[in-house]
């Protein structure tokens, strides 16, 4: 018995020592990070960006392939991460300087203290709820056994569905028990097989692929749910990077603008460049890139519109007091602040 106790004490001490070692490791890394930042100030070098895959990310993929950043003296380190959740966690842990995510996931992070703000709007693109069930005409027709696929809880698709539910049925959470979290490809596969789910809130190209099938229709259009256009994603830069590396920040924003514009002006070349990456024919990709409603832009749209609804529905605990709480200066400068009532650009940051 005594021997057992002694073993336990040793075990506890071992755990403590390991823990301390682990944490001191973290500390050193932090100091290392600061050192790197100090070095960066002098020679202006790298920025760590989460690499993401999908039609929406075409400008980012082009930016990586053609390299729009080195002429501004910026070297981009592209990191591949598993999911949107992992991207946000990496940002919180300062393993990442730039990330792209939907406005609702960002607001959830912001509410919890994620130290990053919006440096660029990123793309306006249709997001819709699609079904193949001919009995489902409106949101009222969903029965408890009808499963609806969304990419994840708190995603832009989930929040848009809640917004539409509130507008049409008065209760944003009435279909919560119908939701199934499925990544876009799995959701599209389930939809095309007409198995497990009857509806899917999704984004191009999955949206286009599903709507191409006979009998597949849109039940809720994302822009209708929101009331006007909104950025599908926003480009975020962490506070640490923004404050310590203004040149790098400026270079990244400018490079991103150039990439965005290049895609708009060279859709055919973009299709040619990216078709092997997506593993689809060039013609099909071009069709997607030029589909109605797809707008490759860095302009801010609807940045504030989700917050009030998300607070009301209980997804976040507070609403940004002004745009400056969630966006960096280049966005604030673009939107402006008209005396005597909001200007057009200020108005489009809200939902209707």
């Amino acid at each position: 018995m005594f021997c057992f106790k002694g073993q336990r004490v040793v075990a506890v001490m071992l755990v403590l020592v390991l823990f301390a070692a682990l944490l001191s490791g973290c500390r050193q890394q932090d100091m290392g990070g600061a050192q790197v930042l100090a070095d960066e100030k002098e020679k202006l070098s790298t920025i760590r960006v989460a690499k993401q895959f999908g039609l929406v990310y075409a400008p980012l993929m082009v930016a990586e392939k053609i390299d729009f950043f080195s002429k501004y003296g910026l070297e981009v380190e592209w990191l591949t991460l598993g999911s949107g959740g992992a991207v946000r966690e990496a940002m919180a842990a300062n393993e990442l300087d730039v990330a792209f995510m939907g406005i609702p996931p960002y607001l959830i992070g912001w509410d919890k203290g994620l130290p990053a703000k919006i440096a660029a709007g990123y793309v306006v693109i249709p997001v819709s709820l699609v079904t193949y069930d001919s009995n489902i005409k409106t949101l009222e027709d969903f029965k408890p056994e009808h499963k609806i696929a969304v990419p994840s809880p708190g995603s832009v698709q989930h929040i848009l569905l809640s917004m539409a539910l509130k507008k049409q049925l008065g209760d944003p959470n009435v279909l919560d028990d119908n939701l199934v979290a499925l990544p876009h490809p799995d959701g599209a596969q389930a939809m095309l097989a007409k198995k497990d789910v009857v509806a899917h809130f999704t984004t191009p190209p999955y949206l286009f692929e599903e709507l191409d099938q006979p009998g597949y229709r849109v039940v809720v259009d994302g822009f209708d749910a929101f009331g006007q256009d909104f950025n599908f994603n926003v480009g975020l830069v962490t506070e640490v990077y923004h404050d310590n590396n203004p040149q790098g920040y400026g270079a990244f924003v400018q490079g991103l603008n150039e990439a965005m514009n290049w895609v708009n002006e060279h859709k055919e070349e973009t299709a040619e460049l990216l078709a092997p990456e997506f593993k689809i024919e060039k013609e099909k990709l071009l069709k997607y890139l030029t589909a109605e409603g797809v707008n490759y832009t860095t302009a801010p749209y609807g940045l504030m519109g989700f917050a009030e609804f998300m607070k009301e529905a209980g997804y976040i605990s507070k609403v940004p007091e002004s745009l400056s709480d969630i966006a960096w200066e280049n966005i604030l400068g673009q939107v402006g602040k008209r005396e005597g009532g909001p200007c057009t650009l200020e108005k489009i940051q809200w939902s209707k």
Binding site: V12, P105, V180
Partner: protein, 254 residues
């Protein structure tokens, strides 16, 4: 009682240490939430956590019952002849190293998204260690014990119940322990990777949701519950069973 007090002291020490590291390290709340916020999350979400826990325990229970049934069947047929024994051993060699979660994509293809797929993963994860331990247990029954039993006139069921079961029970018990642990891991992992269910989901789905809502205290609260259930099952079920059986029979050293 002393045992209980020492465990509470142990937990208290960990909590204090946690707070000390958090406060001295200056880590952001997002990464390293305080003990109070974790307890708070636990309290606010108690009903939700409770129903999720019940759901998890229910499907794990169902999965384990099926897995134990299958394992017993597998053990009996392998005991009944060399041919079956070889098949079962080969199957075990192939399947046992495969993590249950790796089966998930296939499970979803076969059973769709929902409870059935998760149940399949649980059964798959638990059944191989169960067979492994059961089979080893029955094969390691000392021959002289069997013969003593036979000399006393025991045959058939009586022999199985009075000699074979007690002799192999240490193995059966450790099989059940492993099976339970694997089932628990499988259910949480399957839901965490896939988040398969909507209204109906267990603790894995709870963790998944909390992660995507970036509620770090909620994530820790869910983990705490998983650990506590593990401890409870060990001390309230397995330890008691062990005390009443193999320790009483003195088949293992105390």
């Amino acid at each position: 009682m002393r045992d209980f007090l020492s465990k509470m002291a142990f937990i208290l020490v960990i909590a204090i240490l946690w707070e000390l590291i958090r406060l001295t390290g200056g880590y952001p709340k997002l990464l390293f939430p305080g003990v109070s916020s974790i307890i708070n999350a636990l309290w606010i979400e108690r009903w939700d956590i409770m129903s999720k826990t019940m759901f998890s325990l229910k499907i794990i229970g169902m999965g384990l019952v099926v897995a134990i049934g299958l394992a017993m069947f597998g053990t009996f047929i392998s005991m009944s002849g060399k041919f079956f024994a070889e098949i079962v051993t080969d199957l075990m060699a192939i399947m046992h190293p495969l993590p249950g979660i790796a089966i998930l994509p296939v499970a979803i293809l076969w059973f769709g998204i929902g409870i059935k797929a998760i149940l399949f993963v649980i059964v798959f994860s638990a059944v191989w260690p169960l067979i492994n331990h059961f089979y080893t247990g029955f094969r390691s029954i000392p021959v002289n014990q069997l013969e003593v039993g036979r000399n006393l006139g025991l045959t058939g069921w009586e022999l199985a119940l009075k000699v074979m079961l007690p002799a192999s029970f240490p193995h059966i018990l450790s099989g059940l322990r492993t099976g339970w642990a694997r089932a628990w891991q499988a259910s949480v992992a399957a839901e965490l990777v896939f988040g398969a269910a909507g209204g109906q989901g267990g603790l894995g789905w709870y963790l998944y949701k909390k992660r995507f809502m970036m509620e770090t205290p909620g994530v820790f609260a869910g983990m705490l519950i998983i650990v506590l259930i593990g401890i409870a099952v060990e001390y309230l079920i397995f330890a008691v069973v062990e005390k009443r059986t193999v320790k009483k029979w003195k088949t293992i050293i105390n």
